[in-house]
């Protein structure tokens, strides 16, 4: 402890940033907001219920009673731990809705309901929380899903990262929408609804250390409307869908290959990649095919209907840059593989993402 005497004291950085013009400090989440008592109650009443104004949530029961579903239920859950929680093109609230809505939609389901559970870190600015909740509520409305149940916990400073959100989605499977790995066969085409890698790179651009300015924005968006449009306009054409999130297009394709035992061949020259994404990947030493997307789906489509599906996709606002990017081939070995046909015509193998130290992008 030598040398510790006679210090002068500076206000902690994080406290300073909370100062408003009038010198009063901005409100922050305190541990006591999570004790289940009066402050928790106040937070729910004054913040959450302001944005979630309809339905079962307002009743504040332990469970939300929903109306009978018009088909068998489909559920999906995801926790969102992205850093930073505000990013170009969105925020963790929008992402939390889009991510789960998309997971439901790619199964062919119509998403209807969402539960939302927050893990807040002591010290989170109340203003940040409010803007995230507002964004979440707005995205839910746009996607046509209702937030029906919620939960809030608070963890000590240094045990979280501002805010983590879990959403669980509930939908139903309309008739005649049976999609599945088992329907995939050689000759099917692989489609995607736009450019690859934008989300992951937009997030990375805001990481301390990697910081760079880019025009790239996260593609984060709920795709249930796009998907429903395709399924309705091209009945039977789509055999399987999966959103290419963590691990990117390459990992998602590999998962399909593993599950089916088929090979997936992707064409490098047809992959829609923004120039900015290619450029940023180059100086970061990364591959856009492994970068997370939050508004992109791989569609496996019956070969002779690929063009028809492509046209429908391109008409939709969230599919304007859609492309046919590859084809399914008979698996030639025990395990299914993903191959990339390069510009020069040679083939390279795409594996799952393996241990890249770049987490927290969703």
């Amino acid at each position: 402890m030598k040398g510790l005497v006679l210090l002068t004291i500076n206000t902690k950085e994080s406290c300073k940033e909370g100062d408003s013009v009038e010198g009063t400090r901005e409100k922050r989440i305190l541990l006591a907001h999570g004790d289940g008592g009066a402050l928790t109650y106040q937070l729910i009443q004054e913040l959450f219920l302001k944005y979630f104004t309809e339905g079962p949530l307002q009743q504040q029961n332990d469970g939300a009673l929903l109306r009978d579903l018009p088909g068998p239920p489909v559920v999906s859950t995801d926790s969102f731990v992205i850093t930073p929680y505000f990013f170009p093109g969105g925020d963790i609230g929008k992402l939390a809705v889009a991510g789960t809505v998309n997971d439901l939609a790619v199964t062919g389901a119509e998403p209807l309901y969402l539960t939302v559970s927050f893990i807040l870190e002591e010290g989170l600015l109340m203003a940040d929380l409010e803007s995230i909740v507002a964004s979440l509520a707005q995205t839910a409305q746009e996607a046509g899903v209702a937030v029906v149940a919620g939960d809030t916990k608070v963890v000590e400073k240094g045990r979280g990262d501002g805010i983590y959100i879990n959403t669980t989605g509930i939908g139903f499977l309309p008739e005649q929408r049976e999609l599945g790995y088992q329907r995939i066969e050689a000759g099917d085409k692989i489609l995607i609804n736009g450019t690859v890698g934008d989300h992951g790179l937009a997030i990375l651009s805001k990481r301390s250390g990697l910081a760079f300015d880019t025009e790239l924005r996260s593609d984060c968006a709920p795709l249930n409307n796009l998907i429903a449009t395709i399924l309705e306009k091209c009945p039977g054409a789509v055999k399987f869908m999966r959103d290419a999130t963590r691990g990117g297009v390459a990992t998602t394709a590999k998962e399909i290959a593993l599950a089916t035992g088929k090979d997936l061949l992707l064409w490098e020259e047809d992959l829609p990649i923004r120039e900015e994404a290619a450029g940023a990947s180059e100086f970061l030493g990364l591959d856009p095919l492994y970068m997370a997307n939050e508004g992109k789906v791989l569609f496996i489509v019956q070969g002779d209907r690929a063009q028809e599906v492509l046209e429908v996709m391109k008409e939709h606002q969230l599919g304007q840059e859609s492309a046919i990017i590859g084809t399914v081939e008979k698996g030639k070995r025990e395990e299914g593989h993903v191959l990339l046909k390069t510009f020069f015509g040679s083939h390279r193998i795409l594996e799952m993402m393996a241990g890249d130290p770049l987490p927290r992008i969703c």
Binding site: M1, T8, I9, N10, I29, A38, K157
Partner: protein
Amino acid sequence: MLSEQLKRFREPQLAKETIVKVKKSLQALQTYQGHKAIFMEFCGTHTAAFSRTGLRQELKEYVTLLSGPGCPVCVTSAQDVDRIIAFSQIPQAIIATFGDMVKVRGSEMTLQEAKACGSDVRIVYSSLEALEIARENRERPVIFIAVGFETTTPTAALTLTKAIEEGIDNLFLYSLHKATAPALKALLHSELTTTDKRSTNIDGIILPGHVAIITGRKCWDFVVQESKIQATISGFEALDLLLALEDLTQGIMNQHDQVGNAYGRAVSEAGNIVAQQAMEQIFELQGGDWRGLGSIPQSSYKLKKEYAAHDAEKAFTLPALPESKGSSCQCGDILKGIKTPLQCPLFAKSCDPVHPQGPCMVSHEGTCATYYKYERKL
């Protein structure tokens, strides 16, 4: 078995019978004095005990029980809270503090808000835990916010002694310890004796039982001898409180010239000598600011010069702190027993435990918090 006897002290049945007797005595006292008696419990733990057991309500037609300044958190001044928050801004510093302290507002913010901004604040139940934290974080200054009365002061003194023995040089004390007797003296000699005895003045004082364990009974005789107000030391079980009321009643009617001891199983004449010596070894009395009461001479335990290396006030230079702002909180009058919380216009309106306006609403044993929890009229 002592444990069986201890249980007897909290048995509802025995207490219920005792209430009947105590009510009779209090009636006799009213006849004797010509007015309903007004007693003050000095100690916040007594304030809470009278309310939690329901005895304050149960006896309200027989005796008015006022609350005194006996909550160490409540009497910590806003400036001292500002200093605590400033300490929490020292790079790498760990603040170790009792839980109630984190919720008290200084002139601008609370320690729990500083924590939310990134200060490392650890809630402890004992100064020994602060020592443990210092032991485990030898590269970081650990500042123990030492609040409390004579009950707590020797524990901090002994912990510091141990730290020094072990060569733990990164443990610092910010001593806000206060001495109760000077505060009681100040109360008796100023406001209380100059106001109309019939309305806000008090007929008897219930003295803090755990403080008296350390100080001993006899050092309190000055109360009776100097101010002619009767006083009795009390324990904290329902039966203890009743016995103390009875003892006080008898003391007034029989004009005892000594302070009574209704907590004989714990409080001796001379007190705990080890504890007294430990306090004397480490601390010296200086003038100190009490929230609500103002400055009281010889009421504040500060570390002696020899321990400057462990004295947070000496080891760290704090920036100039802003003046505290005024507030319409009536804690001052409440701590003096001039008002009850029910007389504060903010009470249970803009001031409640979730949004406390003053320290009396913050601490578990603050008078306003106790009244909010137990005594509110619905």
